[in-house]
């Protein structure tokens, strides 16, 4: 079970959070092609390595925040940290 760094509440147990999926690129404007829209909608990255994702402190302050989580090791770092 992970501990996650809530920007308001600090390091808390995973049970207080809900995962809200990987960070998506900004919502496309209405003039993108259908296939661009479908790609935005349905093709998330699934790397072996760090994935940037959203978590919701649902049983806490209610904040959505962003972290990077390693899909193999579950190592967590902040999005601004270098994961290279």
């Amino acid at each position: 079970m992970l501990t996650l760094p809530c920007p308001f509440c600090g390091q808390r147990d995973e049970t207080e959070f809900l995962n809200a999926g990987p960070t998506k690129p900004a919502r496309p404007s209405s003039d993108v092609t259908d296939s661009e829209w479908i790609n935005w909608l349905t093709v998330p990255e699934n790397p072996v390595g760090y994935v940037e994702e959203k978590w919701w402190h649902a049983k806490g302050c209610g904040k959505f925040f962003t972290i990077k989580r390693h899909t193999v090791t579950h190592q967590i770092m902040m999005p601004e940290e270098d994961s290279a």
């Binding site: 079970m1 992970l2 501990t3 809900l18 809200a20 900004a26 919502r27 209405s30 259908d34 829209w37 479908i38 909608l41 349905t42 959203k54 919701w56 649902a58 209610g62 904040k63 959505f64 090791t73 579950h74």
Partner: protein
């Protein structure tokens, strides 16, 4: 009087003044306080106490702790539970246990006939034989035959479990010499420490060691350390507690089996530490020779434990078989205790045998192997094979076996640490740690006590310094030196005959031949061998056998064991009671029910209560005297259609939405236009998820400029809240919108039916409620029956409805008042069954019925809700793309099933021509319509709108039902009544 024929006259750490009576397989025995079930059985001479998993071979106790592969028991009565190793069950007065895999008893087991067919039951037999038509057809009876204990039938009322959290600096697993030392150093440096140990008493291998520490028996040192730890309030010391799971971020799952608080049966700990020290020791492994599973064959370390801990020597005439030096200490113990020893068979050449043999006066068969054990239900003799192949038969009734020691790397490996093969140990040792942990002692492969202790000191000190503690100088106690640990691997003995059963995994009945068979059939990696043969699975997870499996795969494939690798170590390390994981989270405490202030009134009225989404308790229907459920529903529905009814609409999800950008936000959420909505009016809207499927529907009222009250369906309020928060916090960060969930802040009683207005007038209302002053879809603030209220004119029933919203504190009084004032009008309370009937008659959609995350508004015939001008609403683009493909869709239709009055099950498929082929739709709801006096249904049907008038066929299990397709509205299609 305790009659323990195999108990020594003295010795052991049992309390000989406290006799404990217990029952095993229906017979009464006695042991002493401090015994385990296993030690008590051995003391009583009960050596045959199990039957093996597959072949039902006679089995006895082989180990003395968690490694026990053989003797599994089911506990009965107050301790009810299954599949405990007898070696881990503490003897308690009145304990009742039975063997798990035999009937009627281990000594006369009917299934032992399997042994005769053993030749026909090789690895993979079940998979190969019971493939057609379907393994699941055979599985139940095979599982029964090759069985483990069943789960206890009843919940034991006084088996109270609880969960506790611990957060600290250092968590030490194992209270042997290294673990105690680690905890001592950490606690003296000011760290908050927890130490857990799976034995009832601390000390680990010190408990059966001849080592002296500071000139005193080793155990006295251990006890002194514990006394110091216990005196430190920052130290939590748990005995009889197993750390069985290692999770991310140094979270360990611990089950404490005998908490000090007597009302707690077991306690599950979730312990999170800055640093974990694994001092889990090592587990002795078996040797592979013919009949190595016979009762009387035991691990050498287990025999030693029974001798030191319990004063039991489970035989009169012992033999030792080893490939390493450690078993010699048992020979010294037995010799000192006066037990007859027939000899030591050591597979190592005599020049490799060192100081361990000094002082022994027994035959030593160096460079010999023990080829086979003999006996029917107990060991009687062994065959010893010399290097030249000559054999010799020697009588004995106890064979102590040592195949060397495997560091207990289970937790280390669960923490994703990598393992390395150590040639000197012929086993796997921790390599690279992936979490903040360190291994010390035998767990780190340090088998020599004296050097292990020195290593523990330096390792723990380094960890503490790294973690910013300041460990004080620590002087190690002086240990008397023991002979060095030395081993030569022996993966299996030579000279076995065809048909000899030599087990690599005792618990799962996996033989050396099975490994060979698996590899010949192409299952030649360790993970494949495991799955094909089941070696390493089960209760013990191959604690005594896994490395032998790896060694034998390596030997058979001419590789080194490190090229073979290990299988994955999984939690739990030992079996765990579900109760200790669940703790107090049991029944309604897992997800508490939600109630409205009317719940008790409903119950007093005799309502049958339902759970109506999101754990809300709602009345399903109100039974009437002399009538069945359908009569009650009909009466309630007729009241609404022809008179007046009232229902408690409080659980409906409600959100107060305000802020500068609230209007824009509502426009983003809903597919239809809200821009022209007037203050004081509401509008029905549908919101979609990003993939263009219906997420929720409901009415949103405009309270003021940029101030709205949104209602959502009961079960989806939480989902909608999350959806809105996600958008606001992630996509619309600069927007100013504030959402307040007010579901429980507004309760409502919805008065509905042709006489609804009359009832409201009679209640006393401060505003004009005529249709012109207060039209459909309007909201008004008013005083109703002396109480401030918000009245909404929405309708989920198709009749004139007034939703009287009041604060929760007024809800019960308002409800009673409505029932009282409504009585002359014939008002009836209405349950969710009736609401369902009324909305099906009207063809109003219901989430979870017509809408199941595969439907969009067009599918439901709601083209009008997709704004022509506003295309930026969430999900709109996806709907448009999907519609542009022109592929057929399932569309909402009405159905008139010809059943002669019987209801059709919701979810029943509609298939082309009624054939058993892929469905073309399904029935989403089916009710008896009080206005149509017949069965009506709603359904989703491929191209349904184009097929109105057709007859389709519903398959409700074995029933084949014709139904005419209609428009999805059976009552007042123009909606004149609800606007009236």
């Amino acid at each position: 009087m305790t009659h323990n024929p195999f108990r020594q006259k003295a010795g052991g750490r049992i309390d000989r003044n406290s006799c404990v009576e217990f029952e095993f397989n229906g017979k009464r025995y006695s042991g002493y306080k401090g015994d385990t079930l296993a030690s008590a059985l051995l003391a009583n001479g009960v050596f045959l106490n199990a039957r093996s998993f597959k072949y039902h071979r006679p089995r006895g106790i082989m180990g003395a702790g968690v490694e026990e592969p053989s003797c599994l028991v089911e506990l009965l009565g107050a301790d009810a539970g299954g599949n405990y190793a007898a070696t881990t069950v503490q003897l308690r007065p009145g304990l009742k246990a039975k063997s798990v895999n035999c009937w009627p008893s281990p000594s006369f087991d009917l299934m032992s006939i399997n042994q005769l067919f053993a030749r026909l039951l090789p690895a993979g037999f079940y998979y190969k034989t019971f493939m057609w038509p379907n393994w699941h057809l055979f599985e139940p009876s095979i599982r029964r035959a090759a069985g483990l204990a069943a789960a206890p039938d009843d919940q034991i009322p006084y088996q109270h479990f609880e969960t506790r959290y611990w957060h600290g600096d250092v968590l030490v697993v194992g209270a042997g010499s290294s673990g105690l030392l680690a905890a001592l150093i950490a606690s003296r440096s000011g760290a908050r420490v927890m130490i857990v140990d799976d034995h009832p008493l601390p000390g680990g291998c010190l408990r059966s060691s001849q080592t002296k520490i500071d000139e005193r028996p080793a155990i006295e040192w251990a006890e002194a350390v514990c006394a110091e730890l216990d005196a430190n309030p920052e130290v939590t010391r748990l005995q009889d507690a197993t750390a069985w799971g290692y999770r991310e971020d140094n979270l360990l799952m611990v089950t404490e089996r005998s908490p000090a608080e007597t009302h707690v049966f077991q306690r599950g700990w979730k312990a999170r530490a800055g640093r974990v020290i694994l001092a889990t020791g090592a587990i002795e492994r078996n040797l592979v020779f013919a009949n190595n599973d016979l009762p009387g064959v035991m691990l050498a370390s287990a025999v030693q434990t029974y001798y030191h801990e319990f004063g039991v020597i489970p035989g009169r005439h012992a033999m030792i078989f080893t490939n390493n030096s450690s078993a010699y200490s048992l020979a010294h113990d037995l010799q000192a205790g006066g037990t007859m020893i027939a000899g030591i068979v050591d597979s190592r050449p005599s020049n490799a045998i060192g100081a361990e043999k000094d002082g022994l006066d027994i035959p030593l068969y160096a460079a010999n192997q023990l080829q086979a054990a003999h006996g029917g239900k107990h060991l009687r003799a062994v065959t010893i094979r010399a290097a030249d192949g000559s054999t010799k038969r020697v009588d004995c009734d106890l064979l102590a076996v040592s195949g060397g020691w495997n560091p207990a790397v289970h937790l280390f490996s669960q923490a994703r640490g990598t393992l390395a093969y150590d040639d000197a140990l012929a086993s796997f040792v921790p390599d690279k740690a992936m979490q903040r942990l360190a291994c010390v002692g035998a767990a780190a492969g340090k088998m020599n006590l004296v050097s292990a202790i020195a290593d523990t000191l330096s390792t723990v000190t380094a960890c503490l310094s790294e973690d910013n503690f300041k460990p004080s100088a620590f002087s190690l106690p002086s240990f008397t030196a023991l002979p060095d640990y030395h081993l030569q691997p022996l993966w299996h003995v030579d000279g076995m005959k065809p048909g000899d059963k030599a087990f690599v995994d005792i618990q799962n009945d996996v033989t050396l031949d099975d490994i060979g068979l698996a590899m010949r059939e192409g299952f030649d990696t360790v993970e494949h061998v495991k799955r094909y043969t089941t070696a390493g699975m089960g209760i013990d997870q191959g604690k005594t056998g896994n490395v032998n499996v790896i060694g034998n795969i390596a030997k058979a494939s001419n590789k080194k064991p490190d090229e073979i690798g290990t299988t994955t170590f999984r939690s739990p390390f030992t079996p765990v009671d579900f109760g200790s994981i669940a703790g107090q989270r049991n029944g309604a405490t897992v997800l508490p029910f939600r109630h409205t202030p009317i719940t008790q009134w409903n119950k007093d009225r005799g309502a049958v209560m339902y759970e109506a989404g999101a754990r809300w308790q709602r009345p399903g229907y109100f039974p009437i005297n002399g009538g069945n459920m359908q009569d009650a529903i009909n009466a309630e529905a007729e009241a609404v259609r022809y008179g007046v009814g009232v229902y408690d609409g409080s659980p409906l999800g409600k959100f107060d939405i305000s802020g500068r950008d609230a209007a824009a936000f509502i426009d983003l959420l809903y597919t239809n236009d809200f821009a022209d909505l007037e203050i004081g009016m509401g509008r029905y809207g549908i919101m979609l998820s990003d993939d263009g499927m219906i997420l929720d529907d409901g009415v949103t009222f405009k309270l003021a400029e940029n101030h709205y009250l949104m209602s959502t369906s009961t079960g989806f309020a939480d989902v909608v809240f999350r959806h809105m928060e996600y958008l606001l916090q992630i996509e619309c960060e600069s927007w100013q919108v504030w959402i307040t969930p007010v579901t429980s802040q507004w309760c409502n009683a919805t008065i509905c039916g042709p006489k609804a207005r009359d009832v409201l007038e009679a209640l006393g209302v401060s505003i004009d409620i005529g249709n012109d002053a207060f039209p459909f879809m309007a909201m008004r603030e008013a005083i109703v029956a002396g109480t401030p209220a918000r009245i909404c004119r929405v309708s989920f029933t198709g009749e004139v409805s007034f939703e009287i919203n009041v604060w929760p504190r007024h809800a019960k009084a308002m409800w009673r008042r409505i029932m009282e004032i409504g009585a002359p009008f014939g008002i009836l309370p209405v349950g969710s069954e009736t609401s369902h009937v009324l909305r099906v008659e009207k063809g109003f959609l219901s989430l979870g019925h017509e809408v199941d995350e595969t439907a969009d508004p067009y599918d439901l015939g709601m083209d009008w809700i997709m704004s022509r001008t506003k295309t930026h609403a969430i999900g709109r683009r996806s709907v448009d793309i999907r519609r542009s493909s022109g592929k057929p869709r399932r569309e909402l239709v009405g159905l008139m099933p010809k059943t002669g009055g019987e209801l059709v099950a919701e979810g029943a498929p509609i298939t082309p021509n009624g054939d058993r082929v892929a469905s073309e739709g399904f029935v989403s709801a089916c009710v008896w319509s009080v206005v149509n006096k017949q069965i009506i249904a709603l359904g989703l049907l491929t191209d349904g709108r184009a097929r109105i008038g057709e007859t389709i066929i519903i398959r409700d299990r074995e029933r084949v039902i014709d139904a005419v397709v209609t428009k999805p509205c059976f009552y007042d299609p123009k909606g004149e009544r609800l606007r009236g």
